[in-house]
Subunit: 270 residues, 4 copies
């Protein structure tokens, strides 16, 4: 049967990325610290770079390789190592894999100590080739309380759910931070963590805790950046905080990007 | 050219609705109170009921009819009247039209009186045929503050952005309420309205106003229901309030449905 | 500590539903046919009806009960049984639980027999109380090819990805159909199934299969309805087919609703 | 009243961007070619860079400035010019404005010449400061037909709706291309345009046209790139094509990025 994809291209353009996207496929997350495995659902993008002279790629091969790994539990580093082994069978100079998934972290209500599972949307992205890199994105929901509102009001202060996105860029030879450790670090910069289960004593605690620790979106993003910059092995990061403002129908956000002086080439885009 | 859609169906099933959906087309909203016209973007669903013996409908005709009305500004009633005129040309016993759009309402910051435009997602839905009805849905963003948190905490109280959805069902011969009037009525049941622009004096006002008017999601939904039930001409309604909880990563909601004793047949589904 | 939620309500409105929504929590799906368990991520809505005289519900209890069931694998019936046990501890006359999740089904490419996992978005919804019911929604992606385009064109025919949503309503004492069996039944009504992995021989097969089995959105929805009506134990159903039209930027859809003559009271809303 | 935002920051981090996002506000699009104005709904992000020593920005000022421009119709260049005037009143070295909106283009069915409005999601983004730039993103829905499927199958060929995103980067002193011209250029690279209204003769035409002009996602992205590279005044671009595959439940995509040799510093990120 004719293989058109393998025919020659007359275009003067190489293709930066070509592949599959929006592919829902099982994903098993392995906690790098504890080794505990968490089966979840991945939304995969698997792509390659295509040189100027090649007309097309064989998309089915991307998913065949993924299917063979159905039982694999992934850390960021294992995903990178696997991507490296794919270049040859996919006849590609560069393999780019991104998987978005949700993991759960056990949290304990601050007074009753009731346990529950808090969701964290996450992303693993790895890229082989001449500029190899590994990216881990961890989303953490928190509570923020406005310092201005507190300072100018005789009672109360507006507060809201916020999302803190930590986008961490690693060189190939560094190991990523544990998502548990990162989430705790991030939460410590907000007015308060959030919890699925709060009994009344916990609600009182969280309310007062938030009131006692106000922070602008600018304060929180800087505080997270200050802590993340101390993590080992990073090439760079982007921290973005979004406040789902309780006094507006729109959101506020702030973003800080940093690149390690030891990796001046890095291109960090949040 | 052969017309397969018009051929006979051998199926024993009539089709409740068949048509187009997800169709982005211009929509001009006419304020029923002031007559002011607001051009916006509609996401249209236009469908008909198809009797058992007919194989298919001619989808293109639905959009041709819509295109002819490009310059029309719509109230809910005008949309219903137009739907009635479509039944014959579309050879349908029942026409069902739904359009989702966003309108803006001028609001004034409570102290500085700074004007700004607040978004309201809305829906118009009309259905002709044996059970004719007109539905208007208006979404209003507000602020709610938790009475429990306020009562048990020594300082502060958690609060958040909330969405109040009013789903109003009208008989064919009633006129819908002005969306301005409805939005103000809805806002008055929350801890505070929200505003795009708030200067510091306004922020102080909103913070204290919310602190002084706490309300559970249950309180707010009942308060809105109590006011909406007094509107003229309604067959029924569903009010739903969703709190984007600032102490959780999930939301809370409450829903009240009511049907007029004068329209006992009505099926209100939120 | 004061318990405001338990205080009396002065409102004249009972609350149809109040609870939590948008709660991401682990969900283990148990295949009713094979017993195989599939861990996945649930988006939960857990709510109760609140009588007129009660001011509020205790939301944290809903999640505490859910957390206790973390190790449970769920069929629709097990979820219903659990909901029934919740009414007393939640002090509610009616418990309504809805969970949305994605499961995977192994499919085999039609010629190469290459296995892969096909995603199926699903919903389980159970409601206790005076009108108890169980709902299972299964989404199946398929391919449809237009009979009109085929008939009038000298070569080719437009075709597209379609989504078939089967919304099945069960009485309390019936067992739901296996989602595998349902998915195969649904796929057999389309122009062709879709597959994550297709080698060239498979692609040829699927292309010709679809060309030989054209179907309007009206044909497909009726064909599915005709087969689903033969399933055992149903109270009613809604079948909805949406075509992501390849010749338009909008979609087409058709919907058929049916209620069993043995359950004339049923209110099926898709 | 105390102005906390204006106080000093002790952080060692400057903030790349801080501002409002998800703000729905009216937007009037002015066609650069015809001058015709199209009122639509914008989703705005307005942000500034904040130096290390400043604690916070005054978010309300961003929206006050926007509100003053309610009657303004915008080209990309007018938006840039306005952004430049904002730096001083916002006390910011850099202003970054992004607005997402939907516009409509009149298209004519290829045989019947029936007119209808086709939606185009668009983005305008402008950035002042040391690296000023203007970005225009235009999304165009088209139809693509698979050359492999056509070549290996005895009849038919799978085809689908596709989305072509053209992300064009302009230097400050260049004028953007007309979105009409760009959309036509993009459509000419697909197997066929799509249309809201197609009568049977049109459907036949589109079906055969697509069958006669097959193209892989790789072919289409290269073809668009080849044409876009000839547009005047560009600093760079990213073209991305996404096929909503009719034989899969997932999508395929390809992306080409180009930077002008006259602007070697440019950082184009799709």
């Amino acid at each position: 049967m004719i293989d058109i994809q393998s025919s020659e291209s007359l275009s003067s353009f190489a293709i930066d990325r070509v592949g599959v996207t929006g592919l829902k496929y099982p994903f098993i997350f392995r906690d790098i610290e504890t080794g505990i495995e968490q089966p979840t659902v991945g939304a995969w993008t698997i792509s390659v770079a295509l040189p100027q002279e090649r007309r097309g790629t064989h998309m089915s091969r991307l998913i065949e390789r993924l299917h063979e790994q159905s039982q694999q539990a992934w850390t960021l580093d294992l995903l990178y190592q696997w991507a490296e082994t794919l270049a040859a069978p996919l006849d590609a100079q560069l393999v780019d894999i991104k998987v978005e998934f949700t993991v759960f972290r056990t949290v304990y209500a601050p007074q009753s100590q009731k346990p529950s599972f808090l969701e964290h949307p996450m992303v693993f992205q790895v890229q082989t080739g001449p500029k190899p890199q590994k990216i881990m994105i961890v989303d953490t929901f928190v509570k923020t309380l406005c310092p201005c509102s507190k300072a100018i009001s005789e009672r109360g202060a507006h507060n809201q759910r916020s999302l803190i996105r930590a986008h961490l860029l690693y060189p190939v030879d560094s190991q990523e931070v544990s998502f548990h450790a990162l989430a705790q670090l991030v939460e410590s910069c907000a007015s308060s963590p959030v919890y699925p289960i709060l009994k009344r004593a916990d609600e009182k605690y969280v309310t007062e805790q938030a009131y006692d620790h106000p922070g602008f979106v600018e304060d929180v993003v800087r505080s997270v950046a200050q802590k993340v910059v101390g993590l080992e092995g990073l090439k760079g990061f982007t921290i973005e905080v979004t406040n789902y403002e309780s006094i507006h129908a729109h959101d506020c956000f702030a973003r800080v990007t940093w690149q390690s002086p030891r990796h001046p080439d890095v291109n960090v885009s949040g």
